[in-house]
C-alpha cells in the first residue's frame, strides 16, 4: 500500500486537513483574528468593477485557478534527482508551515490595507526604495519566467509532434468562442459545449497532422521558440477580450479535466496497480549538475509548497472582492492547500515511471532531461482506468501534452503582458516603456535564454526568484503584523528560512554558471564542467569543440549577471524588509495601528 501514489494523496489530505482545521484555526485566532463584522474593501469601495463582494466559493474557484498552473506540475521533476521522499516531505511540510500562511496572509494584509496590492503595500511598509527594489526584482523575475515558459512550449511541441496543430486548434477555438461570446453574445453554455467539441476535434486533428521531432535539427527548438514568441506577441498586444481572455476560458476545461483525471488516477492507483517505482531517496548531492538537496530542492518544487506569484494574485484581485474577513481563510488557505494536493498528484506522475520509460521520455526530448516525463506518467496513471488500449494512450499523450503547452502559453501570455506594464512603469516615456518595443524586448531576451537550453538552471533561477518573492511577501506580511502588534514569529521564521534558502540557491546557480565559464576559459579544477548551452550552440559530439564558443561563453556570462542581479535585488529587498520589521517591532504600540488591526 505504501508504494502507491494513493498514499501521496491520502497523506496530503490528512496533513493539509490538520493544517487547515487545527493549525490554521489556532493561527487565525492568535494572529489575524478575522472579524466578520468588519467592513471589507469590497464593501467599502464597492464600484462593481474592481471592488465588489463575491461569494467565497466563487473566490475560491478564482484563486485556485489563478495559482494552480504549471509550477506544481513541472517543478517536481527536478526533485526526481533526489527521490520522491524529500519531495513529498517538502510539499507537505512546506505548505503546512509556509505556503498557505503566505497566500492567506497576502489576502489579509491587503484587506486590512484598503485592498491595496503588493506594490503599494511594499511602498507603505518598506518605503520607496523597497518598492523600487521589488519592481526591479520583478522585472528580472518576468524575464526568467518568460524564458522558462517559452522554452517549455517549444520543447513540448518538439517532444510531442502531435501537439502543435492541437494547440493551434485550441487557440483558434478560443478566439472563435471569444467572437461568439463578445460579438454575437451567444449563450455561454452553448459556446462552451461547442468549444469542448472543437477541442476534442483539435486533438484529433493534432494526431492527424504531426510535425516530426527535430525537423530542423539543432534549430528546431529555436524555431518553435520563435513561433511561441509570435503567439505571445499577439496575445500581449491584442486587447484582452480578443485573445487572452477567451483562450484562457476555453483552455480551462481541458486543463482542469487533466488535473481531475490525474487525481483520480492517483486515488485509483492501488486498484489499477500502478506503484511508485522510482527510488525514494537518492542522496543529498546526487548530481553535480543539479546541486545539493539544500537549497535546490526547495526552489525546484515551486508552486506546490509555496510560491511568490500567489501573493500577487491574492493582493491584486481576491482581496478586493472578499465579502467578509472570515472568508479569507477558506479562500486563501483553502486554495493553497488544494494546490499542494495537486502538486503531490503531479509528483506521483514522475514516480510511477520506470527508468526505461524515463529513458524513452528523455530520448523523445532529444536527450534533454526528463521534461516530458510528466506526460508519460499521466498517461500511465490515467490510461490504466480508461482501458489502456494503444488508441487511448495515443490520444491521452496528445491530450496531456497539449495541456502542458496550453498551461504554459496561457500563463505566459499574461506574464508577457505584465512585463509590458512593468516596463511602462520602469522605463516611462523611454522607448522601452512603449507597447511594441517593450513587448518585443520582453520576448527577445527570454528567447535568447530559452534557446541556450540550460533548462535546469533556468528553472532553478525561476524557482529561486519565485520562492524568494514568496519569502519577501511573507516578510511584508510579517512587517504588517509587527506594525499592528500581532504575533509575527510564525511568519518571521518561515520568511527567514525562505529568504536564506533562495538566496543560497541563487548563489549556487551563479556558482554553477561561473564554473562553466571558468572551466571553458581553462581554470583547471573546473574544466570538467561544460558550457551550459544546447541546440545550435551545443557541441555536435562530446569530443567536438563548441560551434559558437564566443556566443556560448557570453551567454553563460549573461546568466551569471542575471543571477547576480536577482541575488542583489533580493538581498537588498530582504535588507529593507528586515529593517522595516525591526523598526516596527521596536515602536511602541501606536493607537492607530491597534485600531486598524
Amino acid at each position: 500500500m505504501a508504494n502507491y501514489p494513493f498514499i501521496f494523496v491520502v497523506f496530503a489530505i490528512i496533513a493539509y486537513g490538520i493544517a487547515f482545521r487545527v493549525y490554521g484555526k489556532w493561527y487565525d485566532r492568535t494572529v489575524w483574528k478575522p472579524d466578520p463584522k468588519r467592513t471589507t474593501p469590497a464593501h467599502m469601495y464597492m464600484d462593481g468593477v474592481e471592488y465588489f463582494p463575491v461569494s467565497k466559493y466563487v473566490l475560491w474557484g478564482y484563486q485556485f485557478k489563478s495559482i494552480a498552473a504549471l509550477g506544481p506540475i513541472l517543478g517536481p521533476f527536478v526533485a526526481l534527482s533526489f527521490g520522491w521522499l524529500p519531495a513529498l516531505i517538502w510539499i507537505i511540510l512546506g505548505n503546512f508551515f509556509i505556503g498557505w500562511l503566505q497566500d492567506y496572509g497576502a489576502i489579509m494584509v491587503s484587506v486590512r490595507n484598503e485592498g491595496r496590492s503588493f506594490g503599494p503595500i511594499s511602498y507603505e511598509l518598506t518605503g520607496p526604495k523597497g518598492r523600487n527594489t521589488l519592481l526591479g526584482f520583478l522585472l528580472f523575475y518576468m524575464i526568467i519566467i518568460s524564458a522558462v515558459f517559452i522554452y517549455l512550449v517549444a520543447t513540448f511541441w518538439n517532444i510531442f509532434p502531435t501537439t502543435f496543430v492541437a494547440t493551434l486548434g485550441i487557440f483558434a477555438t478560443g478566439i472563435l468562442a471569444g467572437r461568439l461570446l463578445y460579438k454575437y453574445r451567444i449563450n455561454v453554455v452553448r459556446v462552451t459545449i461547442l468549444a469542448l467539441v472543437l477541442i476534442v476535434v483539435s486533438i484529433f486533428l493534432g494526431r492527424l497532422l504531426p510535425i516530426p521531432s527535430n525537423f530542423l535539427g539543432n534549430w528546431t527548438i529555436a524555431f518553435w521558440a520563435v513561433v511561441v514568441c509570435g503567439i505571445l506577441f499577439a496575445g500581449s498586444i491584442l486587447p484582452m477580450p480578443v485573445f487572452i481572455q477567451p483562450v484562457n476560458y476555453v483552455s480551462f476545461f481541458p486543463t482542469y479535466l487533466a488535473i481531475i483525471l490525474i487525481l483520480i488516477g492517483a486515488l485509483l492507483s492501488p486498484i489499477t496497480n500502478i506503484s511508485l517505482v522510482q527510488a525514494s531517496f537518492k542522496g543529498f548531492y546526487p548530481d553535480p549538475n543539479v546541486g545539493p538537496l539544500w537549497p535546490i530542492l526547495f526552489v525546484a518544487i515551486a508552486c506546490g509548497a509555496i510560491s511568490g506569484w500567489h501573493s500577487l494574485v491574492g493582493s491584486s484581485t481576491t482581496s478586493k472582492q472578499l465579502d467578509i474577513e472570515t472568508d479569507a481563510h477558506p479562500v486563501g488557505a483553502g486554495s493553497m492547500l488544494s494546490e499542494g494536493l495537486l502538486a503531490l498528484a503531479s509528483v506521483s506522475c514522475y514516480m510511477v515511471l520506470t527508468n526505461d520509460e524515463m529513458k524513452v521520455a528523455a530520448e523523445a526530448a532529444g536527450g534533454v532531461r526528463n521534461i516530458g516525463s510528466w506526460v508519460y506518467g499521466a498517461v500511465k496513471l490515467t490510461s490504466a482506468y480508461f482501458g489502456g488500449g494503444e488508441a487511448v494512450k495515443n490520444f491521452l499523450t496528445t491530450y496531456f501534452g497539449v495541456v502542458l503547452v496550453i498551461y504554459a502559453l496561457t500563463v505566459q501570455a499574461l506574464v508577457t503582458r505584465f512585463w509590458r506594464l512593468i516596463s511602462a512603469e520602469v522605463f516611462g516615456q523611454n522607448i522601452l516603456g512603449q507597447k511594441y518595443p517593450a513587448t518585443f524586448v520582453g520576448l527577445l531576451i527570454p528567447w535568447i535564454f530559452a534557446i541556450t537550453g540550460s533548462w535546469i538552471n533556468l528553472w532553478l533561477y525561476f524557482g529561486g526568484s519565485n520562492q524568494l518573492l514568496a519569502g519577501l511577501a511573507i516578510m511584508l506580511i510579517t512587517i504588517h503584523l509587527a506594525r499592528v502588534k500581532s504575533p509575527s514569529i510564525y511568519t518571521l521564521i518561515p520568511a527567514t528560512f525562505m529568504i536564506i534558502t533562495t538566496l543560497a540557491a541563487l548563489l549556487w546557480e551563479i556558482y554553477d554558471f561561473t564554473r562553466a565559464v571558468l572551466g571553458y576559459l581553462g581554470v583547471e579544477e573546473f574544466t570538467k564542467f561544460g558550457l551550459k548551452v544546447a541546440g545550435p550552440l551545443a557541441k555536435p559530439s562530446p569530443d567536438a569543440p563548441y560551434p559558437y564558443p564566443t556566443i556560448s561563453v557570453l551567454l553563460n556570462s549573461v546568466f551569471i549577471l542575471v543571477g547576480v542581479m536577482l541575488f542583489l535585488l533580493g538581498l537588498r529587498m530582504a535588507y529593507y524588509t528586515y529593517k522595516a520589521y525591526f523598526r516596527f517591532k521596536a515602536e511602541p504600540t501606536p493607537a492607530m495601528a491597534r485600531e486598524s488591526a
Binding site: 461570446l181 463578445y182 453574445r185 451567444i186 449563450n187 455561454v188 453554455v189 477580450p241
Partner: protein
C-alpha cells in the same frame, strides 16, 4: 429672372428655407417677405425663425416676441425669436428638476448645482441652445414650411458648423456608449444568461441623436431644403459671399439660389437730372452686377430693388415680398 415665386412653384417639396449672408444685406427682410408670401398667398402654415441673436424680427414686425415662444402674427404666419440665454436657463432648470425627481431630492447637491450653473459660462451653450430649438421645432412637425433667418456670416457658418460638430459628437459619443453597453451585455453573457438592463444613458443619447440626425438630414437634403444666400452689388459683399459659399460647401450645404438686394433701378440713369451721387452709385452697382452674373450666373433667383424706405411693418413687408417673389429687375 423670375423671382422666388417661380422657384417655389418648381420646388414644391421644400420644407425648409434658409437665408444666409453678411450682415446688413437684407436677410431678415427677405425671410420675412418670403414667410409672408407663403402664409398669405400659398396658404401654408409658416414658421419664421430667427437664429439671429439681434432680435431683428421683433424690430421688423414692430412687435416684441423675443423669447416669447411661437407667436402668431397673422393667420398662418408664425414667428419665433429664440432668447438663447433664457433657453439655456430653462434647460438648466429642467436638468435640475430631473435630478430631483429621479432621486427624490429636495435640492440638487451643491456640487452638481454649481456645475450645472457654470455651464452657462461655456461659449458654445448659446449656439447649441438655438440649434437645439431649431431641431426641436422641426421635429414637432407642426408647420408646412420653416424659414430660418440665419445670423451674419461668421456666425452663420458657425451655426452650420455647430450642426456638423454636434452630429459628429453625438455619433461618436453614442458609439462610445455602445461599447460600454456592449460590455455590459458581454458581462451578462459571460455570467451565463441574464440580460443587461437597459442603459438609460444610451436611451437618452439615441433620443438626441435621432433629433439631430433628422434635422441634419433635412437641412442637407437638397430636395427638401432651399438654401439662399443674400448679397448686394458691392465688391466686399461679393468677396465675402464667395468665401462663405466655400465654407458652406465644405460643410455639405449647397446653395440653391442667390438673392441680390438693394439694387437701384437702372432706369434712373435715363433721367438727365439724376444727381451725381446716385449716378455714381448706380454705375458702380451695374459694374458689380455684371461681376455677380459672371460669378454666380444661374444661381441668381431674385433681384430686389433698393427700397425707398426701410421695410418695417406688415404693409412694407407685403410690398417687399412682391419684389422678392416676382422679381421685376432685369440685368
Amino acid at each position: 429672372m423670375k423671382g422666388l415665386g417661380e422657384f417655389f412653384d418648381r420646388r414644391r417639396d421644400v420644407e425648409i428655407v434658409i437665408f444666409a449672408g453678411k450682415g446688413g444685406l437684407g436677410k431678415t427682410t427677405s425671410s420675412s417677405s418670403l414667410a409672408y408670401y407663403m402664409a398669405t398667398v400659398k396658404n401654408k402654415k409658416t414658421l419664421l425663425f430667427s437664429t439671429d441673436p439681434q432680435a431683428s424680427l421683433s424690430d421688423i414686425f414692430e412687435r416684441d416676441f423675443f423669447g416669447k415662444g411661437v407667436t402668431e402674427i397673422i393667420p398662418n404666419l408664425y414667428v419665433v425669436e429664440i432668447d438663447a440665454d433664457r433657453r439655456v436657463a430653462e434647460y438648466q432648470n429642467e436638468v435640475k428638476q430631473k435630478i430631483k425627481d429621479m432621486y427624490g431630492l429636495d435640492e440638487v447637491p451643491a456640487e452638481i448645482e454649481e456645475y450645472i450653473d457654470s455651464t452657462s459660462a461655456e461659449p458654445a451653450m448659446y449656439e447649441s441652445a438655438t440649434y437645439d430649438a431649431m431641431a426641436e421645432l422641426v421635429a414637432q412637425k407642426n408647420f408646412d414650411i420653416y424659414i430660418f433667418d440665419m445670423p451674419p456670416f461668421g456666425h452663420g457658418v458657425r451655426m452650420v458648423a455647430m450642426a456638423d460638430i454636434l452630429s459628429k459628437w453625438i455619433e461618436k459619443i453614442t458609439e462610445a456608449r455602445e461599447k460600454v453597453v456592449e460590455y455590459d451585455e458581454v458581462a451578462a453573457t459571460l455570467k451565463g444568461g441574464g440580460q443587461a438592463s437597459e442603459d438609460m444613458v444610451m436611451k437618452e443619447l439615441l433620443d438626441i441623436r435621432n433629433k439631430i440626425k433628422n434635422f441634419t438630414d433635412l437641412i442637407t437634403d437638397r430636395k427638401r431644403t432651399a438654401f439662399f444666400m443674400v448679397l448686394i452689388p458691392e465688391s466686399m459683399a461679393i468677396v465675402d459671399t464667395e468665401r462663405a459659399l466655400k465654407m458652406f460647401n465644405d460643410l455639405g450645404i449647397e446653395m440653391s439660389g442667390l438673392v441680390v438686394n438693394q439694387i437701384y433701378p437702372v432706369e434712373l440713369l435715363q433721367n438727365p437730372n439724376l444727381s451725381e451721387f446716385l449716378r455714381n452709385r448706380i454705375l458702380m452697382q451695374q459694374q458689380y452686377l455684371k461681376v455677380i452674373k459672371e460669378k454666380f450666373g444661374d444661381y441668381i433667383v431674385a433681384a430686389v430693388p433698393m427700397f425707398t424706405r426701410e421695410p418695417k411693418g406688415l404693409e412694407m413687408i407685403k410690398i417687399a415680398s412682391e419684389d422678392l417673389i416676382h422679381s421685376k429687375i432685369k440685368f
